[in-house]
């Protein structure tokens, strides 16, 4: 949009990502009486405060605190969608969704297809994921790749308050089941969010920064580290084309292809384990589409194939960091 024609930006106080998602939910619940939330402890606001105060406004029929019954939280959300409501299924943290995988994988993801289009599984599955202050192996996983590989679902992996809010609004309005991975480590990150939250389209990446020397693709919690690394590289005169995918399925293949064709150097960074991670898909797709000859170098940076340890030095050792991103970028630039 021509800057001269744009309306003056509303003065928006920066808010936290968790607050941004709270406002998105509240906005949609006001707009549409069929939107509701189910999950453990949501009546007291959710364990991160994502639902703070909503029980007062919407009451216990729409902010439903449930038993510790993940399979039924997930499956009941589906059932409620089948009769025309729009449930937000809160999983507390992603790892507990593993208690509900039949409901998610065999039922939610497949029901529309199996029944020839009769079912409308319009659910949002919120799953705060990733590393978060020494939470160890059962509370720190990043398995978003699994769901990009799973037909029938949309996968959102936002990294900023505005993106989280916009994608959550889009997810709630979508008739598709959306896996919405809240980035636990960024819940407290702040940024501007418009007071009326518009839905963001799925599959459209955000260019954090433009540059000609290196394409850096990332998403979710690791984005701020990538931004810092890109800033450091910029100080060395290296122009990084920094792409935050925002959604993993669909993902913005066009943006990545255009960038990689231009820079001829591709680095994909994710917090998840590298082996079998979605970085492989992106790299492979770029090679398939552009041909290997179009690239000078390409690589991925992800976690080693380890469960997440508790002790800080161990966690730090396996964590993707700004320093590791910088080192990977430099090795690519040298190739």
């Amino acid at each position: 949009m021509d800057a001269a024609l744009a309306p003056p930006p509303a003065a928006v106080e920066p808010i936290t990502l968790v607050e941004a998602t709270r406002r998105a939910v509240a906005q949609e619940m006001r707009r549409d009486a069929s939107v509701w939330v189910l999950g453990e402890d949501v009546a007291r606001g959710g364990i991160f405060g994502q639902y703070r105060g909503l029980i007062e406004e919407f009451g216990p029929e729409r902010i439903v605190s449930t038993p510790i019954s993940e399979a039924t939280i997930m499956g009941a959300g589906l059932g409620a969608a089948l009769v025309g409501t729009r449930p937000i299924i809160e999983m507390r943290i992603f790892d507990f969704a593993l208690c509900a995988m039949d409901e998610l994988v065999n039922q939610i993801a497949k029901i529309r297809y199996m029944f020839g289009g009769q079912a409308k599984p319009a659910v949002v599955i919120r799953a705060p994921h990733g590393l978060w202050r020494s939470s160890a192996a059962q509370h720190s996983q990043s398995l978003e790749t699994w769901f990009a590989h799973l037909p029938g679902v949309v996968v959102a992996v936002p990294a900023t308050p505005a993106d989280a809010a916009g994608l959550l609004v889009a997810a709630i309005r979508s008739d598709d089941p959306v896996l919405f991975f809240d980035p636990k480590a960024l819940f407290a990150a702040t940024g501007p969010v418009p007071s009326a939250i518009d839905p963001l389209p799925f599959g459209v990446a955000r260019h954090e920064q433009w540059g000609d020397d290196l394409t850096l693709v990332c998403w979710s919690s690791i984005v701020p580290d990538c931004v810092r690394a890109a800033e450091a590289l910029a100080r060395d005169g290296v122009g990084v084309d920094l792409i935050d995918l925002r959604t993993l399925w669909p993902w913005d293949e066009a943006a990545v292809l255009a960038s990689a064709a231009r820079t001829r150097r591709l680095l994909v960074v994710h917090e998840a384990v590298r082996a079998g991670g979605f970085g492989g898909e992106i790299l492979a797709r770029v090679v398939e589409r552009l041909g290997p000859g179009a690239l000078k170098a390409a690589r991925r940076l992800g976690a080693p194939r380890l469960p997440v340890p508790f002790s800080p030095p161990l966690e730090d050792a396996m964590r993707v960091t700004e320093a590791k991103i910088l080192a990977a970028a430099k090795s690519l630039l040298a190739a």
């Binding site: 009941a76 089948l82 039949d102 799925f202």
Partner: protein, 331 residues
């Protein structure tokens, strides 16, 4: 003849017809399967028709049901279109699920049949959620949730019953106890007194019924559905029945005790309803006509399915999702 008796006879005749249609549907489908006319395999419910017929006969059209892998009877009893179902079994165009589901994933949302399920107990969480959604929408429809005796050993049974009781949801749980889970006698894998006790321990009122007596099933279901609908919370109906055939269309069930099977045949729900109707003075010819009509209806559906075209390959790419669906060209 008193009006009430007349009414009872008319009602039992309709239940007889419904059971006959379910049986004919499955017998014809099994014959088609044996003849290589339909792909995959089937889970027949022959011998269990009284449960589907009795329960669904007391439901409203806008009530919902969830079903199991053995769901033909539930679907027919809820009013699903026969030809659409048969075409689905055949994997043909015009199948109620466009050929994508097959026997194990029969669904007809237009009559409130929210789907069979290939996963044992998979329908339970869905049913309780559907009930919760209906209440949120201010609708007084209820949900009947069918599952087998094998399902009461899976976690979702506990979770779903506790959940339904907690929120006092309008759900009628129906445990179709056919004495067997796949190839294993149910009693050999289930400890304790069974479904009724388990339901009660989760705060769900429950009772047992002779699941081969279609009138008894209908009477009990009517009573429980009335309570469920007026807000008394979920109930469970435990229907004792018997699966007369094997687990699937390819299982001859040679491992079953022949004496047990023979005894069960003596309790066949259709034969029992017929005896009662005959005793009440209904003419044999009337009942035979019902059987013949059912058979003819299903044979016609078979012929229709066999003549129907296959779905177009491109349809495989439809009904996946709105956003991010791949196209056939990408393949």
């Amino acid at each position: 003849m008193e009006a009430s008796t007349e009414h009872a006879i008319a009602r039992l005749t309709e239940l007889y017809r419904l059971m006959a249609r379910i049986r004919a549907f499955e017998e014809v489908a099994l014959a088609a399967h044996a003849a290589g006319e339909l792909p995959g395999y089937l889970h027949p419910s022959i011998g269990q028709e009284a449960v589907a017929a009795g329960v669904c006969s007391v439901l409203r059209r806008d009530d919902r049901i969830t079903s199991t892998h053995r769901g033909h009877g539930h679907a027919l009893a809820k009013g699903a279109a026969v030809r659409g179902m048969m075409r689905e079994l055949f994997g043909r165009a015009g199948g109620v699920c466009r050929g994508k589901g097959g026997s194990m994933h029969i669904a007809d949302f237009s009559v409130g049949m929210l789907g069979a399920n290939g996963v044992v107990a998979g329908g339970i969480p869905i049913a309780v959620g559907a009930a919760q959604g209906l209440r949120l929408l201010g609708c007084d429809a209820i949900v009947a949730c069918f599952f087998g005796d094998g399902a009461i050993n899976r976690g979702p049974f506990l979770e779903g019953l506790n959940w339904a009781a907690l929120y006092r949801l309008p759900v009628l749980f129906v445990c179709e106890d056919n004495a067997v889970a796949a190839f294993t006698a149910a009693c050999s894998v289930t400890a304790g007194p069974g479904a009724v006790a388990r339901a009660e321990s989760c705060g769900v009122a429950a009772e047992s019924v002779d699941g081969n007596d279609v009138e008894a099933v209908a009477e009990a279901a009517a009573r429980l559905v009335a309570r469920v609908r007026r807000g008394d919370g979920p109930h469970l109906l435990h229907a004792r029945t018997y699966r007369l055939l094997g687990h699937t269309s390819t299982d001859q069930a040679a491992w079953r005790d022949p004496a047990e099977v023979a005894a069960a045949k003596g309790r066949d729900p259709i034969a029992r309803a017929r005896q009662r109707l005959l005793a009440a003075g209904v003419a044999e010819t009337v009942l035979d006509a019902i059987l013949a009509e059912a058979r003819a209806e299903m044979e016609a559906a078979r012929a229709d399915a066999l003549a129907a075209p296959w779905p177009d390959a491109a349809e495989a790419w439809e009904d996946v999702q709105d956003i991010g669906a791949e196209t056939m060209e990408q393949a």
